[in-house]
Assembly symmetry: C2
Homo-oligomer: 216 residues x 2
């Protein structure tokens, strides 16, 4: 197909592309889904979590967007991580370090025991270890939640981890060049105003902040 320069899966995608795609999904809490509605391109951001070679997403059963793509219409998922700015000696050669994937496929509704497990996968993707710290979902909560599984039919991934590549005349000049790394993760936690005294920050949240570049 002409939509991507990629490679269909599972037949012909290189192992390294699949590893890079999975790593990007694992590093990302946010994805962007697009679809065609009444002739227009609609797109919306949503939390995503990889589950083997599929992608889970969830929201309210009242969500118009989720209900639209739950019907199994063709959808496009894009996930991008900005890893840094490439600061060259000229504006022209300046760019970004990034990883970006686009995937085409369809969504289906997750239900039953698989739904319960999928919600745990989503929770633990966003805050590793959190699912075990909180009570299980109630029946009412499960009924109010729509969980979808995106099955990838085709994807491509692009990435740049470049250093500046300046022209010879600029290399001889006085301009600085380098890379500015993007802050990652979370900077700090704030207790809720109604938190009861004596409840410590849980291990999941402590680890989330400690493992972030933004942590201090």
């Amino acid at each position: 197909m002409s939509r991507t320069k990629a490679t269909r899966i599972p037949e012909s995608v290189s192992d390294s592309d699949r590893v890079a795609f999975d790593a990007l999904l694992d590093d990302s809490s946010l994805g962007h889904f697009a679809f065609v509605a009444e002739g227009s391109a609609m797109l919306f951001p949503i939390a995503i979590a990889r589950d083997s070679d599929t992608v889970l997403l969830h929201g309210s059963t009242g969500s118009r967007w989720l209900r639209s793509i739950a019907t199994g219409i063709p959808v496009t998922l894009e996930v991008t991580a900005i890893d840094g700015l490439v600061v060259a000696r000229s504006a022209f050669e300046s760019s970004m370090r990034y990883r970006s994937a686009i995937a085409f496929g369809t969504c289906s509704i997750v239900s039953g025991d698989d739904k319960v497990r999928a919600l745990e996968v989503i929770t633990d993707h966003l805050i590793p270890g959190r699912a075990a710290e909180v009570r299980p979902h109630t029946t009412r909560e499960l009924a109010a939640t729509l969980v979808l599984r995106f099955t990838v039919e085709e994807f491509s991934i692009k990435h740049s981890s470049d250093w500046p590549e300046d022209q010879e005349t600029d290399l001889a000049g006085d301009a600085w060049a380098g890379v500015v790394l993007a802050a990652r993760g979370y900077s700090r936690e704030l207790p809720a105003p109604d938190l009861r005294p004596g409840i410590a920050v849980p291990a999941s949240v402590r680890a989330l902040v400690a493992e972030s570049d933004g942590g201090r």
Copy 2:
């Protein structure tokens, strides 16, 4: 129109929505454009910079995606900032602090003196002060660069800056609740391997890191 719950501009969008939209654009280095191509929803990420009530984007004249939307076809822009995780006492009530806008409009090609100025706006949006630190674009560089201006016809913005809103029974329990703030900006700079000795980190890059949550 039914695409957004919004409000057309400039007639009826509230001033506060416009201020919030502009602030989101100013805080964002990345936007996502979607359009319909051969019946599929295509989308791609790209650096954006607000210029008054329009949005600038740029890339190589060889970019297939940019050339597609340069024709003036209807395009959808989505910009989202994740400000933090809302960690509730249950997984169900957990969510995100975010700001997200969707805008419908069209792109047009920027040329001449306006193109030179637009590239400065883009450079200074990504790295404030950088345009004055580097040499001007050459004629050849300008010829190789496609600059587009996205004109907003309609937009809507959603945001959440909530605290957890737990159920009464959960409030009485032992689970922690709060917000984990997302790291913002840049963590540190790395000099290019071919940087000549004695060239100091420029003010623009120092400020970018110093003003980030990720700075240390």
